[in-house]
C-alpha cells in the first residue's frame, strides 16, 4: 500500500513536510551555537585587575596586584520580551553593583536600542545587596518596553543575589515573587470572552461585538500596551523557551487562548476579532471603501509570503533569537519604533488599506493562514488523518 493511500496525502503535503524538516534542521544548527564570552566585560569592569579566577562557567573572582580579592563578576538571566536576557555585573566586596552590561539578549533590535539609549541601565549600576532591585519598586520601568526593562532588572537582581549570598555572605532582602496580573491580562481575557460570545450569535449584535473587540484590541493591545501577537511568540515556542509564568501571564493567556480556540472552534480568533493592526486596516478599509481584490501574479505573491515566513522562522532558530526576524510593522505603528524600511512599509500599507482590503494580512503577514496558520492547520490535518487511518478497525467481511 502506498503512503498516499495509507494517509490520504495531498499533492502539497510533501512540501509541507519538507518545510517542517527544514525548520528542524535550523533548530539543530542554532542549538550548536557557542556560549557567552565574558572576557570583554571583565576587562572593562576591572581595568586595574591583575587576574580573574574562574569559579564556575559564569562567575569570576577578581584579583589585585598581590592576589587579593577585589570583587566578583557573575551573570544573571531572566525573561525579556523575545526570550532570555543575560546581564553581567561586577560587585565590590561591600556589596555594591559597580558595573552592568548586557551580554546576550533576544529582544527586537529597535526596542532594545530604545532601552539602552534611555540610560535605563544607569538605574541598575550603583545598587547594593540591601536594595530590592525590583522594577516598579526601586527601579523605574519604561513604557513601551516593559518586558525588556523587566528582564534587565531581574537579571541584575539574580546576579547580585548570587554574589552577595554565595561569595560574600552578605544579607539580602527576602525574595518577592509576585504574580503580575493587571489591566493587560484583564483586557485580554475580556477580548477572548467577547469573541467567544460573538461566535455564538448572529446578526447586527455580532457585528457590533466584533467592532468592539477590534477597537478594544487596537486601543489596548496596540496603542496602550503595545503587545500584539507576533511571529516572535511562535519562534519562542519553537526554540523551547517558556518565560516565567508569574511575570509573563499575558503571554501565556494569549498563546494558550489562541491554541484552545483553534483546537475547539477551528477559528483564528486573534486575526479576525482583535488583532490591533487588522483593526487599523479595517478602519482604513471602511473609510476608503476597500474590497478584497484579485491581484495579478497571485501565486507568486502567495509563495513569496510563505518563503518570507520560512526565512524569518529559520533565522530565529539559527540565531536562537525569536525577535531577530520579527518583520511585522506593529511596533512601528503603535510605538513608532522600527527601521526606516518598516516606516516606509507602514506608510504604503496604510495608504493601500484604503483601497485594498487588509493588504498586510493577505499578502505579507507571517501569521496569516497563507503562511504559519496554514502550515499549522495542514500539519494537524495530516497527523489527524494518519492517526485515524492507523487506528481504524477493519470492517468485517
Amino acid at each position: 500500500m502506498t503512503a498516499k493511500k495509507a494517509f490520504g496525502w495531498r499533492k502539497q503535503d510533501g512540501i509541507r513536510l519538507a518545510v517542517i524538516a527544514w525548520i528542524v534542521v535550523c533548530w539543530w544548527i542554532g542549538a550548536d551555537r557557542a556560549g557567552i564570552d565574558l572576557q570583554p566585560f571583565l576587562t572593562a569592569a576591572w581595568p586595574e585587575a591583575q587576574g580573574f579566577d574562574e569559579i564556575d562557567g559564569d562567575s569570576y573572582r577578581v584579583l589585585g596586584d598581590e592576589g587579593e580579592v577585589l570583587g566578583y563578576v557573575t551573570t544573571g538571566t531572566a525573561s525579556g520580551y523575545g526570550g532570555p536576557l543575560t546581564m553581567a555585573i561586577s560587585m565590590t566586596l561591600d556589596g555594591v553593583v559597580e558595573s552592568v552590561a548586557v551580554v546576550e539578549h533576544r529582544e527586537t533590535p529597535s526596542f532594545f536600542r530604545t532601552v539602552v539609549d534611555s540610560r535605563f541601565l544607569g538605574q541598575l549600576a550603583g545598587k547594593t545587596n540591601e536594595d530590592p532591585i525590583v522594577l516598579g519598586d526601586d527601579v523605574d520601568g519604561m513604557s513601551g518596553a516593559t518586558y525588556t526593562s523587566l528582564g534587565m532588572t531581574q537579571s541584575v537582581h539574580r546576579a547580585a543575589r548570587e554574589i552577595a549570598t554565595s561569595f560574600l555572605e552578605l544579607e539580602v532582602p527576602p525574595e518577592k515573587r509576585r504574580v503580575v496580573f493587571g489591566l493587560p491580562e484583564i483586557v485580554l481575557i475580556a477580548l477572548f470572552t467577547i469573541a467567544v460570545i460573538r461566535r455564538r450569535i448572529k446578526g447586527k449584535l455580532s457585528t457590533i461585538l466584533r467592532w468592539t473587540t477590534l477597537l478594544g484590541g487596537l486601543l489596548f493591545l496596540g496603542f496602550l500596551f503595545n503587545s500584539p501577537f507576533v511571529l516572535a511568540h511562535i519562534n519562542m515556542v519553537l526554540i523551547g523557551y517558556w518565560p516565567e509564568w508569574q511575570t509573563h501571564l499575558f503571554w501565556y493567556i494569549l498563546i494558550i487562548g489562541l491554541l484552545l480556540f483553534k483546537a475547539t472552534e477551528e477559528w483564528n480568533v486573534y486575526c479576525y476579532d482583535f488583532c490591533p493592526f487588522g483593526a487599523l486596516q479595517e478602519i482604513a478599509a471602511t473609510i476608503g471603501g476597500a474590497k478584497p481584490k484579485k491581484l495579478r501574479w497571485s501565486k507568486f505573491l502567495l509563495w513569496a509570503q510563505r518563503l518570507l515566513t520560512i526565512a524569518a522562522i529559520s533565522l530565529a532558530l539559527i540565531y536562537r533569537n525569536p525577535g531577530i526576524s520579527s518583520y511585522e510593522i506593529f511596533g512601528t505603528a503603535f510605538a513608532l519604533e522600527g527601521s526606516n524600511f518598516q516606516f516606509a512599509l507602514l506608510a504604503i500599507i496604510l495608504l493601500t488599506s484604503l483601497f485594498l482590503y487588509r493588504p498586510w494580512c493577505r499578502h505579507l503577514c507571517p501569521l496569516h493562514k497563507n503562511a504559519t496558520e496554514g502550515l499549522f492547520d495542514n500539519t494537524r490535518r495530516i497527523a489527524r488523518t494518519a492517526w485515524q487511518k492507523m487506528t481504524k478497525k477493519p470492517s468485517p467481511a
Binding site: 557567552i36 564570552d37 570583554p40 566585560f41 576587562t43 572593562a44 569592569a45 581595568p47 586595574e48 553581567a88 561586577s90 555594591v96 559597580e98 558595573s99 552592568v100 552590561a101 548586557v102 551580554v103 546576550e104 539578549h105 533590535p109 539602552v116 540610560r119 541601565l121 544607569g122 541598575l124 549600576a125 550603583g126 481584490k293 484579485k294 491581484l295 495579478r296 501574479w297 497571485s298 505573491l301 513569496a304 518570507l308 526565512a311 524569518a312 533565522l315 540565531y319 533569537n321 531577530i324 526576524s325 518583520y327 527601521s339 524600511f341 518598516q342 516606509a344 512599509l345 504604503i348 500599507i349 493601500t352 483601497f355 485594498l356 493588504p359 499578502h363 505579507l364
Partner: protein
C-alpha cells in the same frame, strides 16, 4: 465566454497593486538583512555599547 474572461481577469489596477505588494516584499527583505547584520555584530560590541558603571576607573 470572452466577456466572462474579461470579468475574471485582473486589470491594470490589479497589476499596480501587485507591483506595490512586491515593493513591500522588497522592503521586508531589506529590513531582515539589516536586522540580521545588526545582530551578528560581536558580543564585544554588545558589551561595549551597554556597559554602564559607577566605578571611578570604569571603562565608560
Amino acid at each position: 465566454m470572452a466577456e466572462d474572461d474579461k470579468k475574471t481577469k485582473p486589470g491594470v489596477g490589479a497589476t499596480l497593486w501587485s507591483l506595490l505588494m512586491i515593493v513591500c516584499l522588497l522592503l521586508v527583505i531589506a529590513h531582515l538583512v539589516q536586522a540580521v547584520s545588526q545582530d551578528t555584530s560581536s558580543e564585544e560590541d554588545l558589551i561595549r555599547s551597554t556597559f554602564t558603571t559607577v566605578a571611578p576607573t570604569g571603562g565608560q
